[in-house]
Symmetry: C2
Subunit: 416 residues, 2 copies
Amino acid sequence: MKTAVLITIGDEILSGNTVDTNSNFIATQLKDIGIKVLSVFTIPDDEQAIVSTLGKALEMADVVFTTGGLGPTKDDITKKAYAKFFQDDLIFSDEVYEHLRAYLEKRDRLWILEHNKEQAVVLSKASVFMNYFGTAPCMMVEKNGKYCFSLPGVPFEVKPFLKDQIIPFLQEKLELQHIVSRIVSVVNIPESILSETIEDWELALPEHISLSYLPVGTRVKLRLTASGSSQEMLNQSLENEITKLFPLIGENIVATHEDKIEKILSGLLIDKKLTLSVSESCTGGELAHLITSVAGSSKYFFGGIVTYATDKKIDILNVNPETVEEFTVVSEQVASEMAVGCQALFKTDISVSTTGVAGPGKGEDGKDIGTVYYTIRIGEEEVTSKLFLPHLERTDFMHFVSQKVLQDIVSLLIKK
Amino acid sequence: MKTAVLITIGDEILSGNTVDTNSNFIATQLKDIGIKVLSVFTIPDDEQAIVSTLGKALEMADVVFTTGGLGPTKDDITKKAYAKFFQDDLIFSDEVYEHLRAYLEKRDRLWILEHNKEQAVVLSKASVFMNYFGTAPCMMVEKNGKYCFSLPGVPFEVKPFLKDQIIPFLQEKLELQHIVSRIVSVVNIPESILSETIEDWELALPEHISLSYLPVGTRVKLRLTASGSSQEMLNQSLENEITKLFPLIGENIVATHEDKIEKILSGLLIDKKLTLSVSESCTGGELAHLITSVAGSSKYFFGGIVTYATDKKIDILNVNPETVEEFTVVSEQVASEMAVGCQALFKTDISVSTTGVAGPGKGEDGKDIGTVYYTIRIGEEEVTSKLFLPHLERTDFMHFVSQKVLQDIVSLLIKK
């Protein structure tokens, strides 16, 4: 199996100012073509650190990627480090400069060309992949049959570089084994019990299949990865193993093909021709955002409303002010009335509501932080649930609740 | 200056299945107490890799953190690797077991105690920090005056471990230099021009202050970091340097204290006593989600609506069907009418609308993917802008547009 090491370069990552999402993306892309990432090294914008990490990485793996440090500012020194490590010269490339000029001209930004001229300087022995979505090109240096790519740090430039240019390049150059993954999503069973329940099954897995547990909120994702020479054979053997899980934990399995809960839901809604709307308070738009992150969601998602202020729940969702007075705004009753109002407003088969206190600070009715009620209404039937998550920070709380709500819709739809 | 190395353990990170957010959080926390993260190593659930990386990390830095690999399943082997590296035995701790029992009892989950018993096994010479938000304790091993912490991988367990226990512990044990950072947010100027404009200022910075450029969408964040023995002196010298920036790029500076655009906006709205609502189409709830991620946003954010379907724009936001017919739903005119409707629905000083095509696939009116119109309405005045971002993937597109809209509200409010 071919291997890769990723090197993330940037003081801003090490200081915590920026979250590195590039390595995750690159790892996913490489996995799909059967290249295993052995390690990710995150290092500072420091010439010596870059040089020594490049050395180590090229010892370990067949392919090495660096991201970051290609900008036009003083703290970006990746190119210099490459020149030192590969004992090569940096030269001004007319071809790259012309590409840069055309790129900027097309965007009415020709006036910054002179300021970005430095980006046309590349290693003399590098192959250059042009950047169609930014100004820094990608350099590829081959050494002893290994490939080293220097990518910029901007995620939306990294993505097309990988998809359009580097993955096809690697597929052609390397003789790659096939690798296939499947994710089985399991709910309503703690990881430790799940592990015991499927222990015999796990021990009996064929050698070319590996298993990992990935807990996400209250769901556990079982990832099965198979590698071998025939894709068809791999798909078949994964299907066989997954089939054997059903007698053991069939009731807890909500999906065996899709991974993300919003995609699992998408498949179900399209399948059952059902429409959906959401009314959110404490999740503040994250539910709608999760749902609409799926391409094609406009087919079933008619809309959502965030009623943060109580009187908007009354005005727009027709929540009864007396209900609020009697039970407070964070209550089973208000959750239910919000769901009814939401269903009426958007005219959908399914509606959802959330009302709770994300914290910090006490909610307006003195309820403790971390309490949330949510209603899922399918046709005329509805289920209201409560969660109490006082240990979660604001954004984690919103995220946990949103995941759980979608997971519950999926469970309800599967039971039907 | 004290230093740290972070080790992220987990096949699920290397395969791209999970994004590592722990190292970012830990780095931020350490930065605040003046500990500099030198490197982050992401490695597989492999005993040999853990052992050798621990060795390297403890050579490099004063403090080492590992996250992950403490779960009760077979692929979690961090503890075994610790035992091997520190040449220590794993022993069953009655104290940890009792804590675990009490923790599970309180949550009505006592039935899983036996399945999680393994988590009461710790290194004989480790100090144990109890987990109040999960089942795996944190072990701390001291070696030659250096500290090595093994943390679980679940982010919402890692956060309180750091904040409540480890940071106070390190502050007490290590004699730490103070470190202070400030972020200056700059808009409407490309990084390369900015870099030239402030070059002399940058070269004249005192030695104890360092500068980095962090581009986020169309904004550039300048981070100034100062280290020294007096916090007061550091604050003063940062303030001095920032003041010198104003004659150079004052018009482009939107904030010098807060970092995130949604927090900058929050400060401005509270300051000016203005209220806000949003109506979203192509951003699908992300705007509302960003705004409500700020604690205290209920003071100024009255609500938001996601009108994904065109007829909901007409029904709920009073967009004129003739406008849609004449100009299509992705148009300046519809953006404007949505903002008017949103302001009326939520009765706020400011309202915002977005309408566009996030892709993939063509929009219902045949407009190209990546086009978006957005209106910002403040009182009776409004500004409608257009973006064309065909190169962005769906989620990046939504993210970019949301950031830009908030940035524009901030710019408009500052100009007023």
